[in-house]
């Protein structure tokens, strides 16, 4: 663990009463390695380590902690603050409330759309409409329709011959007519560098004004998380992030990178393949996990 590695670093250095420029140097190297191992973006790590250096330099070591533990505490607290200190709630305003899921291929959008529908019904007593807006991936519409059926939640009858923007507009119309409390758009996975498909998302946003545009990111995403998130955010002005597959052993450093570069809150976490496997994001758990 990072605490052990830092204790090892400080054992070699004498005079532990105060964290000095010298003994901090070796400790910061360990922190940097731990964060890179956790897939935090290189540039984000650089800035982060600098902030830790400033915070740590000259600090008195608390009697109850080893110098290693002290540094970990400084790092953990800083991570916690960066990840968003506290939980940010979902925006449920709107009649109906409109949610749009976006992200790269395979990140978990379709599954997360169905998970959110279940959560809205269970916790907020809402009647959601699931809208399959992926007409490209083979059987994508079937996939969401099947998940909706499992939940006994209604799905809009999309067809692959339809245009995704039209699907979303008609679905929102129907939702208003039929008194649904929420509408959830499951869009096709796409590359941030695919101009035409990014334009499609911008059009869906323009015509349906979702109050939640949620970027779905895989917890195992590496250095590229920054480039992708930034691109989606610049294009759509995201309202939040969903981090999926957190039930694995990925350290999830992408969470910090994405939060740092977009400033948008991580709202939800996918923790399994069951439709009930959706949790609120806990910054403290994420911080500990990133540090390993």
């Amino acid at each position: 663990s990072l605490t052990d590695r830092l204790d090892g670093v400080f054992k070699k250095i004498r005079g532990h009463a105060r964290l000095t420029e010298e003994n901090i140097q070796a400790a910061l190297r360990e922190v940097r390695l731990a964060l890179l191992e956790a897939d935090v973006n290189f540039k984000v790590v650089k800035d982060f380590v600098e902030r830790i250096r400033e915070k740590a330099a000259g600090q008195e070591v608390l009697k109850s902690l080893t110098p290693g533990q002290q540094v970990v505490k400084i790092v953990h607290d800083e991570l916690l603050e960066l990840l968003g200190g506290e939980t940010v709630a979902l925006n449920l305003k709107g009649k109906p409330a409109v949610f749009m899921f976006v992200g790269l291929q395979g990140s978990g959008k379709t599954t997360s759309s169905a998970k959110l529908a279940l959560k809205l019904r269970r916790e907020f007593k809402m009647r959601p409409l699931l809208v399959p807006a992926d007409v490209y991936r083979p059987a994508a519409i079937d996939q969401l329709r099947k998940l909706a059926a499992q939940l006994d939640i209604q799905a809009y009858p999309s067809e692959t011959t339809m245009n995704p923007v039209d699907i979303c507009v008609s679905a929102l119309d129907q939702a208003k007519k039929d008194g649904f409390d929420a509408v959830i758009f499951d869009t096709a996975g796409r590359l941030h560098v695919d101009e035409a498909l990014m334009e499609e998302l911008a059009n869906i946003k323009a015509k349906t004004s979702p109050q939640e545009i949620l970027f779905v990111a895989d917890a195992m995403t590496g250095q590229d998380a920054v480039t992708v998130a930034k691109s989606f955010d610049e294009r759509l002005d995201l309202t939040g992030v969903v981090l999926t597959k957190m039930d694995g052993d990925a350290r999830g450093g992408a969470a910090l990178s994405i939060k740092e570069v977009t400033g948008k809150p991580i709202k939800l976490v996918g923790v399994g393949e069951k439709l009930s496997d959706l949790e609120i994001f806990h910054p403290d758990r994420a911080a500990s996990r990133i540090l390993g």
Partner: protein, 276 residues
């Protein structure tokens, strides 16, 4: 890198940053940099213009594998494995298309009986490719699908069978046990099968790809790796560490969502992409 006029400390520092940003990982990058500095010394050069070739040669060496061609009693059985959402099903379509184009009689087996519409997704691909298709319906035992697909493949003279499996996180012991069972069933029915267990890795994945490779390799043995989604901006640098640690050949890269979007992997292309 081109802005440097000699291979000094700042050159190597910049290269380290490039490698880490490409997901090569701190330790493999350090190893790679050592080797590269060694090569530059041996070549007696300090000229960054020569660097592209040095990197190409080094990566070609790292990715070289003593490829052993096993004698295969047809049908050849290819099992696709990997964590959720990486591109296993789509890669089957691409590999099946290639095999079909080379005149082989191809059978695609729907071994993912768990995920919603997984069978429908694969069936659409099998139809597009023009390959044979076998499935047993949702919630069937994947080992039973493997067994019966093997039966059909043998009985109807197929040259190659591609078996799709459900995405599974490598840390889920029961799911890894299920994979081992599928492998045992295949081998029992047709000794030697699966002849190729292909681990599919997503190029956007960071250091977790090492853990994925480790656990899938320990469970069923990984014969090849296919790196998907290289048409994005991620470089897939984790394969350097994987090659150094496990020596598994990377055979193909996925460059898109169509059945033609597959290309053989070459160390030089990878080196080129790293520096671009």
């Amino acid at each position: 890198l081109a802005s440097h006029d000699k291979m000094d400390d700042s050159f190597w520092e910049e290269l380290e940053e490039i490698l880490i940003m490409a997901d090569v990982g701190f330790e493999p990058a350090a190893k790679l940099l050592d080797n590269l500095r060694g090569r530059a010394r041996k070549a007696g050069t300090n000229d960054p213009a020569k660097f592209r070739d040095i990197l190409s040669e080094e990566l070609a060496e790292i990715f070289k594998t003593g490829k052993t061609i096993k004698a295969i009693n047809p049908p050849e059985v290819v099992m696709m494995i990997g964590v959720n959402g990486v591109g296993k099903t789509t890669t089957i379509a691409k590999l099946a298309h290639r095999a079909q184009m080379s005149g082989k009689k191809v059978l695609i087996a729907a071994g993912d009986t768990f995920r919603a519409a997984a069978i429908e997704q694969l069936k659409i691909w099998a139809d597009r490719v023009g390959a044979g298709f076998f499935s047993k319906g949702e919630n069937a035992d994947p080992a039973a699908v493997a067994f019966e697909a093997m039966d059909k493949g043998l009985a109807e003279g197929y040259d190659i069978i591609f078996l799709d499996t459900a995405g599974r996180l490598h840390t889920k012991v029961n799911l890894m046990e299920e994979l081992k069972k599928i492998q045992r069933v295949l081998d029992k029915k047709h000794p030697g099968a699966p002849h190729r267990s292909i681990l599919v890795l997503d190029a956007t994945t960071g250091q977790n790809a090492l853990s994925q490779t480790k656990l899938f390799h320990e469970a069923v043995g990984v014969d090849e790796i296919v790196l998907t989604k290289l048409d994005g901006t991620a470089k897939g640098g984790v394969i350097v560490g994987i090659a150094l640690e496990y020596g598994v050949p990377i055979t193909f890269v996925g460059l898109g969502e169509k059945m033609e979007d597959l290309r053989p992997f070459h160390g030089q292309d990878f080196a080129q992409a790293l520096l671009s």
